[in-house]
Symmetry: C2
Subunit: 519 residues, 2 copies
Amino acid sequence: MINAVGRDIPEKVLKDLNMKPFAGTYARNGEEYKKAAPTVRCWMDPKESKMVDSIHDVLVKCGLRDGMTLSFHHHFREGDYIVNMVMEEVHKMGVKDITICASSLGKAHDPIVPMIEDGTITNIQSSGVRGKIGEAISTGKLKGYAIMRSHGGRVRAIESGDVHIDIAFIGAPTADEYGNLRAVGGKSDCGVLSYAYVDAQYADKVVAITDTLVPYPNIPASISQVNVDYVIVVDEIGNPAKIATGAAKPTTDVRKLMMAEYCTKFVINTPYFKDGFSYQTGVGGASIASTISLGKIMKERGIKMGLGLGGIAGPMCELLEQGLIEKLVDTQDFDLKAIQSITNNPNHIEITGSEYANPMNKGAYVNKLDFVILASLEVDTHFNCNVVVDSNGMVTGAQGGHPDTAAGAKCTIVIAPLLQGRTPAICTDVTTVTTPGETVDVVITDYGVAVNPARPDLLECAKAAKLPVKTIEELRDMAYAITGEPEPIKFGDRVVGVIEARDGTIIDVVRQIKDYEWD
Amino acid sequence: MINAVGRDIPEKVLKDLNMKPFAGTYARNGEEYKKAAPTVRCWMDPKESKMVDSIHDVLVKCGLRDGMTLSFHHHFREGDYIVNMVMEEVHKMGVKDITICASSLGKAHDPIVPMIEDGTITNIQSSGVRGKIGEAISTGKLKGYAIMRSHGGRVRAIESGDVHIDIAFIGAPTADEYGNLRAVGGKSDCGVLSYAYVDAQYADKVVAITDTLVPYPNIPASISQVNVDYVIVVDEIGNPAKIATGAAKPTTDVRKLMMAEYCTKFVINTPYFKDGFSYQTGVGGASIASTISLGKIMKERGIKMGLGLGGIAGPMCELLEQGLIEKLVDTQDFDLKAIQSITNNPNHIEITGSEYANPMNKGAYVNKLDFVILASLEVDTHFNCNVVVDSNGMVTGAQGGHPDTAAGAKCTIVIAPLLQGRTPAICTDVTTVTTPGETVDVVITDYGVAVNPARPDLLECAKAAKLPVKTIEELRDMAYAITGEPEPIKFGDRVVGVIEARDGTIIDVVRQIKDYEWD
């Protein structure tokens, strides 16, 4: 069945997953639905303890069995030890057919690939995957489907009951013995626990794992005792050096600096750039350079940002410190500066993943964005973006908040160099659609700026900013003129993964990579 | 059917309400149950506004109809305008058979009595009632049952689905246009919105009513935009003078000072009085005097409180300021000092009603109490307390957190003068059981101190403290010797209300008052 972005979603996949094809970004707006709910055990007797000695013991207490769904968060990023620690024990116990529902998975989790191969893990739900898990999925080793969800989409899936978590494992930089969890104050601080909040609310059993037990009460808590069943203390929950990076050096890449300049010029020439505006940006070199130059102009013109949103890195924290941002609202911290900022600055505030981006609650923060600055592996002539599958067809990225912020923001700007190495980033059709073109307003490349024809108002802004305005087709043609039109990737027939739109429909599928055949 | 505190609960009542008789404070510990969930409308389109012009319009938007359950919080206490404002409009619209589910109701709500009489309101669920609503209930004017729940019990009832809220009305000192609500920063600050949190989570429709609209985002929010459907601005949501009282003058009543001294002496002679202890107290004169004298001893001995809990008044905030409390954890503010403290002191922290006292979540703060100091209208020889029905049989008080803290604390101390005017406070059987005696450890009167025989350890502490130790029967006999044994109140047969134990069973019933008959 052809969906609203022109992708053919096989009937078998729709049936297997009981899902519908994507029908447009706002198609489900206003729908009513009954929220899901966990089955919980009440802790009424004050004499009971939540402390458990080992992961093995807690798995027994939680009644681990074949076919369960276990959940994890990714706030420790490439420094995470929790997923491997838990799955190793699950594997030892011989339990099979586990679904992993993670807010994201990375190279840190390469050690679980053998468990995919032997049927311990048969389904993966994640914002994305990298490294060997991506290869395992793309080469057909996962028995079930990999479901890739945006950060908002994952919360929606859990809150609506599309996925039910049996046991949530929450790595916590600090915990008290009754399960109040904080993201700061321990050996492996990660700043916030935003993405784990929904797991704590909706999982039947919730297990906190910490390496730093602190006196009761550990508050203000990111996750409260009222949602936690058990607390385990281990030696190390993560590798701090890989959880938070040091300060990123400002880019010196002239292409990135040029795109940053285009971006800033465009932003300040829109009517949304006024006192109290709201803004989110990524951590790419161009995004960061653009944020820094925007800050200078804000200072010159006496304009303050009312709301800075998102995964947060140092440069946004510096604007906050300089008094150029009223409130910095945070779901993930990328560097030490951000972790220090949320620990110390009362105007730097943690929110939950649902508050950030869930499209089916009563209104997420992304809905209030004026600007979002995003990156993309590919953008096509329909303005569709691909942030998950590389140009070899391998799953190697994550949706993150990309489709969520694009859908919410008044002005969605995608920065992409015309060429990613020898591959055109601007193309006729993206390999895989992860963010629908109807939500992408402006594409900024090092060869020019294209505005979505649906936004003639923004085209006028780009012209007023004296930017090198092109059509998206012109940009594509320039790219193809340099590299030649790329050969289509050869996929097999088997669908190994689906790209879930933030509203729970299928926007695209990912097929198994075909072994290379000589013509 | 006779329940675990010896009260006869009529079969008809059990059947009408589909409830079970009370079987003991911890009888339901460890039970598993599926939580309730609301039916929500998603707000996906960033262009939609939540602002509505009037209460009438919002009632129409929410689909108000006969038989619905509307909910309210009581953080504005006797200064609340919200209940009357909403119910006046409901009444005008001619809607009937409304259940009011309030965290509490007071004299401020006397104006709704005519709506009880004319069938607009047919059921009331509240922590308690005062004034004319109590009279209306006790004289049989309410068509259905009044259900009295503790603060924790109310959250349990909502989270478990025993009561389903159709529309929650949340008076908010400040709100932004997308529904982020705070308890401070407006014309009618109330410090916290703890008891309204569960309404926002579990009601199908959530309406915020404010008199102070502030710029977006109004954070850190007590109640988040993701749970709020509509925002209304009115002229005044409350009377600040009646929301928060000024500083209470220290009592000069010698009886109260004597009981305070007994209480302090007892506390410091228990093994629980050590660095890091946890403590909750009320706002009665003796409680406050005891807190002040306890503070002096803590300072002398270099002992700090780890956790101060509860409804908070000035004296606890002063201990926090003096560095004698690590964390002050708050669900309700009784005076201006407390509101100022939570606004300014980062160690004074708001929690939700569920975190405070819900017996059927994964562990409430009350479970971590070492001491709670409570008052009571009556205490009987089984140590049962009555805090709802006066000695004339009239409903005129509230359960509040009484049964919750008593069940949670390691040491529950009830302070009551031997006589309340000419009525014995220590009696053979309380008029109505609201807190079961098995959770009450020590009773302190101006004529002596009685310890529950179930706690021989605490009896030794009382003796070590050189307190005038009596049996509870001795105290009762002293009271009866002064006043004579009181005549039993003459009730009619009709049950007009039930006292719900915190676990959702019936601990006692309230019968209609009988007109006086000459013998």
